[in-house]
Amino acid sequence: MTVTAVLRGWRAARVTPLGELHTPPRMTAALLRLTVQVVLVASLWQGLYAATGTTAGLSEDQAVTYAVLAVLAIRIRELDQYAGRDTVLQHMHFGTIVYWYLRPLPPQRYYAFRALGEQLYGLVWVIAGYAICLAAGVVDPPKSAAVAGVFAVSAFLGQWVLYYVMLAIDQLCFWTLRNGAAMLILIFAQNLLSGVYAPLWFFPDWFITLSGFLPFQATLSVPLSLYVGRIELSDAGPQLAVQAAWVVALALLTRLLWRRAARRVISQGG
């Protein structure tokens, strides 16, 4: 990769984080929301486990760690693009999407660079939140260096899957002009099926099996289950393989959609 390509990527990656840094109230609101969510979620799971020992294969410490890490993780992609008028939906609505096609940087690469910047910026928040929670004893550390390593690989693949899921939803705008409903369904499905609302282990077997056919549990549930030890290291291989398979499948799908989307840009507006 040339210096120029790195510079291009760096600038595009900075767009959303820089917009956040220029808007301190948004950062304050995010900090407050995250703090309240972590406190409430930790209290909820501690309360639920007050009268019981191990449930759904998870101890209290495992369940609290899983739930708090899930809350922290959603911060990675929960940036306020809408306020910055930088969602694909808004670019379609305002007609500014044409500029993505008038630059020597292809739209798919610009989108990828921008998303990478967002995810790295979100990761800084997650690491800071994780360090505080770890110091406060709210979450447990990984059981071993091997667990930490496998978790890191799985979390990376999970974010990659999440990137493609978000991209596919954004690409819907090229056909529907509005993806508000799709986004609402996605957010609900993502939170439910990835284990943000509650670890998937608490759901009936048929639900877990069904969600296995969708990419959502590959985003969060798999890495968090590896972290808390609900999935043993010996079973990590197939799980990582499934995550990688989702990455490949969604990469192919979104690549095809980008190609078709280019033909749609022109028909939206004069």
Binding site: H22, A83, D86, V98, L102, G270
Partner: protein, 331 residues
């Protein structure tokens, strides 16, 4: 690099679904959709020379934006071909992107949450502009557009005029030989409009850029363009100078003279009709399609008659274009 634009037989057909009225109609459209073809642009041919500013005019829905989209590479034509600075835009989008700059009305390409200068830096890196060159160009644009008074402000806080000036600068930061401007001054106040016009004139005359401009503002056309291409219903109606357009559609000038001899006989001149005669006052107007321009007519009148006073009336370009649109619409 030559900034010419060559357009040959360019056509674009869109296929849309007919939406039938009423509940039953909507249901029928759902079950058995009827697709119709609409020619947005049909067999258009024209050239723009390097360093020329051409106004592409036409009423709303005439096909101007579709034409620009094909020339910027966003849209592939159904037939015909186009070359912009030697590149077929829809075949080599990325290469074409380096040769062109574009502003689409009030649609900004700047990043809403970032200061203007930050947007410029992103574009500098996207277009691989060397830092020294970028600084020189920013200084030049600042002198012409007074950007430094607001370039540290976030785009969301800019006035429309400031934003369009920033967008113009953003479109030219990579020094493109060809610039497409789709109604760049729409909604702006007269002072900013004039500043933008000065900027464009400078870019054409001093920097030799080729500019293709669409606008509904005839003052802008008069001040900036020597040549005009008029399209309507997707078809090219006229390609010529402003004088030619006036001659064809706006022959509504009048030359009013006061003769020194109130009894002198007055007769029509070639292409010039005597509209009215009242004592020493005589009013001349154009006669037929070969009528001269108002200034040529004036010359002929004062060469032929002794006059003590002269008054000229000419339809402004707005009237001329109105006539052109009406006539073109009827053809």
């Amino acid at each position: 690099m030559s900034g010419s634009i060559e357009v040959r037989g360019l056509s674009r057909t869109f296929h849309t679904t007919v939406r039938r009225p009423g509940f039953g109609g909507a249901l029928r459209s759902l079950v058995n959709p009827e697709r119709v073809a609409k020619d947005a642009v049909s067999d258009i041919t024209f050239d723009v020379s390097p360093g020329e500013l051409l106004a592409l005019l036409g009423p709303n829905g005439a096909g101007k934006s579709t034409t620009i989209k094909m020339l910027t590479g966003i849209l592939t034509p159904t037939s015909g071909e186009a070359r912009v600075a030697g590149v077929v835009p829809y075949e080599e989008r990325e290469r074409n992107a380096r040769n062109i700059g574009a502003v689409f009305g009030q649609r900004t390409q700047l990043w809403w949450d970032l200061p203007v200068r930050e947007s410029f830096s992103i574009l500098r890196d996207i277009y691989d502009v060397p830092e020294a060159e970028h600084r020189v160009r920013l200084r030049e644009f600042d002198e012409l557009l007074d950007l430094s008074s607001f370039w540290d402000t976030r785009v969301r806080h800019l006035s429309l005029g400031q934003r369009v000036r920033s967008d113009l600068a953003a479109a030219l930061l990579h020094d493109p030989p060809v610039v497409f401007l789709d109604e760049p001054t729409i909604g702006m106040d007269v002072v900013v409009k004039e500043q933008v016009r000065e900027f464009l004139r400078y870019q054409v005359e001093e920097r030799g850029r080729t500019v293709l401009l669409t606008t509904h503002d005839m003052t802008e056309v008069e001040r900036l363009a020597e040549r005009v291409v008029l399209i309507n219903h997707g078809r090219l109606v006229l390609d010529g100078t402003l004088d030619e357009i006036r001659r064809k559609f706006g022959s509504t000038w009048q030359v009013r003279v006061t003769l020194s001899d109130p009894h002198a006989p007055v007769e029509p001149l070639p292409g010039i009709a005597l509209v009215r005669r009242e004592g020493p006052q005589a009013v001349f107007g154009p006669d037929g399609p070969t009528a001269p321009t108002m200034h040529q007519a004036l010359k002929q009148v004062i060469e032929r008659y002794e006059v003590t006073d002269i008054a000229l009336d000419e339809a402004d370009l707005e009237d001329v274009m109105r006539a052109a649109y009406v006539q073109a619409g009827g053809e």
